[in-house]
């Protein structure tokens, strides 16, 4: 698998660190109910299909990326910088 980093271009998967689903972008505010933390840390849609997840370009530009890809075919359909993302912003 390869990912096309918006800053560095087409790169080998080994340059990236995988964190998990984009749920990690929705960090609960301080004092939020425990159920929100459970959602944030543990519960996942975990689809067999298109997923949006977080990758870190560790051996490149050191930017966090949101990758849209299929968990069934491993086909990648989009990579955006977390810093500039248009969807999935924390409420």
């Amino acid at each position: 698998m390869r990912l096309t980093c918006p800053l560095c271009g087409d790169r080998d998967r080994r340059e990236f660190y995988y964190y998990g689903a984009e749920d990690y972008l929705h960090r609960p505010v301080e004092g939020a109910p425990l159920a929100d933390w459970d959602n944030y840390l543990h519960l996942r849609d975990n689809p067999a299909g298109v997923v949006r997840d977080l990758w870190y370009h560790e051996a490149g530009c050191a930017q966090w990326l949101v990758v849209t890809r299929s968990t069934v075919t491993h086909e990648v359909s989009g990579v955006e910088l977390v810093a500039e993302r248009t969807v999935g912003r924390a409420k």
């Binding site: 698998m1 998990g20 543990h42 975990n46 990758w55």
Partner: protein, 416 residues
């Protein structure tokens, strides 16, 4: 039909014409007392113990493909009871005891071989952690022996002890640890369940769970609707999809784990050896193939095949630890979908729906758990109460903070 040595000999003398299928191929009935979704090791063992321990025989196991097509037929067969935390420790200890009686209980040769498991360590800190783990195992009534470097050398003379990156300081030997034949475990439980009247229904995918007034009333399948007041979801890597049919969102992320096997060789590796620092473990099957593997591919996936970086990493780690295997040819590699939980420990519990139960979160360690998982899930489904060794394997422990994080790596699913 009972299997025995005498039976093998007489069948051999008469052209092996007398063997009959190990289980029936029934059509689904309209209603059962209980339905198990998933014909993997855990589903089959649950059905077996529901029938054997609780006298519930009007039950069906619904399997979307064929028996043994999932992880039960893809794993690297390590069986051990070397857990540390209360909650896991008593559960896996119970499981190992069930392994030790499995072949006579099932009248089936599962090739369970307690050849000893050696976990290597490479620093003083790691040694201290292994001493602590070994003591926890002994306190639980299981066995553990701390080996220094020379002690390891006696068992595993072929390792590269002086490798520059991770010189070997010693190992923790778990003499009752070992391996078994994975398919045989599925087949043995399938046959045992069938003999007690359980219907094993293959090529029957569950596509919906029918719930009325907060109670489960049955399932929808590709072979029609089937009614039941008790339903168990036991589908390993597919847990999130099936639970979603009942409106649940699980603390599970699915990841692929690869494994490899070489051509058959003469006996050379007599133990199960694990090299945690390099992410590598190995044993030799009774057919002679070296069976080995490493870590997850690290990103969520439902593709039952892996990616090349992990292949390379596993081969490198193997070569670092035991350069002699470099001349063996790899025959096959494959992947299985792991139901990774955020603390690395499993779940056997009720759900918010009356009569609906779930058994999942086995990560990459669910083979050794097959008998105890079946035993405890059957207990839960039959009595409505958790079995005493599975009391801590709760679904709500993530919300309440009672995690069982054996490795202390935090809540990231792929780190366990």
């Amino acid at each position: 039909m009972r299997y025995s040595g005498l039976k093998v000999i007489t069948e051999g003398l008469f052209g092996n014409k007398g063997w009959t299928p190990a289980w029936r191929d029934p059509a689904p009935k309209a209603e059962y007392d209980a339905i198990i979704i998933g014909g993997g090791g855990h589903g089959l063992a649950t059905a077996f113990y529901l029938a054997k321990n609780h006298g519930l025989t009007n039950i069906a196991v619904l399997e979307k493909s064929h028996i043994g097509s999932g992880n039960i037929g893809r794993n690297t067969t390590i069986v051990r009871a070397n857990y540390f935390l209360p909650g896991n420790s008593e559960f896996y200890s119970h499981s190992l005891k069930l392994w030790e009686q499995m072949e006579s209980e099932l009248n089936y040769n599962v090739m369970h071989s307690q050849r000893g498991l050696i976990n290597l360590f490479h620093s003083d800190g790691q040694r201290d952690a292994f001493v602590r783990r070994g003591n926890a195992m002994i306190n639980q009534g299981d066995d553990a022996i701390l080996l220094d470097r020379e002690g390891v050398r006696e068992h595993l003379p072929y390792l590269d002890f002086e490798q520059t990156r991770f010189p070997i300081y010693g190992g923790l030997l778990h003499p009752r640890g070992g391996s078994a034949r994975h398919d045989a475990v599925a087949w043995g439980y399938a046959r045992g369940a069938d003999q007690r009247g359980v219907d094993l229904i293959q090529n029957c995918e569950v596509t919906g769970i029918d719930i009325q007034g907060g109670k489960v009333v049955g399932v929808k399948t590709t072979r029609g609707a089937i009614r039941a007041k008790k339903v168990g979801i036991i589908v390993a890597g597919r847990s999130s999809q099936v639970a979603a049919m009942a409106g649940m969102r699980l603390p599970i992320e699915s990841h692929v784990l690869q494994a490899f096997v070489t051509e058959g060789l003469k006996p050379v590796i007599n133990h199960v050896v694990s090299f945690g620092m390099g992410h590598f473990y190995i044993s030799q099957s009774d057919k002679g193939g070296l069976v080995f593997g490493g870590d997850l591919d690290f990103y969520a996936s439902y593709a039952s095949r892996g990616n090349l970086p992990m292949v390379e990493h596993v081969m490198e780690a193997g070569m670092t630890l035991m350069p002699m295997i470099g001349r063996a040819k790899v025959l096959r590699s494959w992947g299985g979908i792991m139901d990774m939980s955020p603390d690395g420990s499993p779940i056997i519990d009720k759900t918010h729906v009356d009569g609906l139960f779930i058994d999942c979160g086995w990560n990459y360690g669910g083979f050794k758990a097959v008998p105890a998982s079946g035993w405890c899930m059957a207990h839960l489904m039959a009595t409505g109460e958790p079995h005493e060794v599975a009391r801590k394997l709760r679904l709500d422990r993530f919300a309440t903070g009672h995690l069982l994080d054996e490795e202390g790596t935090g809540s990231q699913h792929n780190l366990h």
